[in-house]
Symmetry: C2
Subunit: 134 residues, 2 copies
Amino acid sequence: MVDRPSLSKGEMAVARALWEVGPATVRQVHEKVERNEPMSFVTVQTYLRRLEAKGHANSRLDGRVRIYSGRSRPGTVIRSTVNELVDRLFGGDSLPLVRHLIEERGIDESGLAELRELISRLEAEMAPSGRKPS
Amino acid sequence: MVDRPSLSKGEMAVARALWEVGPATVRQVHEKVERNEPMSFVTVQTYLRRLEAKGHANSRLDGRVRIYSGRSRPGTVIRSTVNELVDRLFGGDSLPLVRHLIEERGIDESGLAELRELISRLEAEMAPSGRKPS
DNA sequence: GCCGAATAAGTACAAATGTACGCGAAAGAC
DNA sequence: GTCTTTCGCGTACATTTGTACTTATTCGGC
């Protein structure tokens, strides 16, 4: 798996929009982005170009318009971004971050239920054999 | 609470070192940083100066050496950094990040136990009144 | 076949970031 | 009291990021 450069704030916003709308023209991505924050059309254009340069997007010219599509999958990008953050902020230990998120950012009831289940599953997975997570 | 500019990658590394060693000279901070990654002494100096400029550190001249000390407390900085990340990466919804962290980064058994407890507490807190988290 | 709207693509440019040099002052060695 | 080492501090500078204008091109309507 190629290790593409990580994304900056603005790039991330555009990338997210692109992931959500799927292959799309600049205009469509722009519209998506603007639902969250104001950003000039040309700025979106620039970000898309940069995303492509960094290998996070592909594009092809369809007649007169350029169609961009995501290349890295969200999961991958998110993973490396998060990993970077965890390393940087907590020296690689993710528990404090999880604690922080749960405590400070409010997760609703169904979210809590889901987490409870997830935790049970993991405990069940490791307890019998006593295996540690890799 | 003043809203200080957020920290960049490098600044964060130095800030963490500063928090850990407590009030210290550039040299001491540098030594701490270098335990994790190589970074030139003067670079650390620069980061410390920038941290002070951004209001995250204080310093005083003690004779000939400058003693830096953390100003913002780690919790505060971490909170805003994490919040920013969650907004950018998940549009403000922290659950996916939590899920990701728990699933992908391996939390050990005692960590899981702690989380389970935390979740129970929160569920107990909100269930009776049906109150949603702010 | 000309006009305006839309678009791609090049370019611009200030701010932030990463990384560091060099000078002058101070402190200790001798 | 000079020499050397150690610092602080100002400065530097390339790269990345944030944000956008401009120019040339094309398409659809008249």
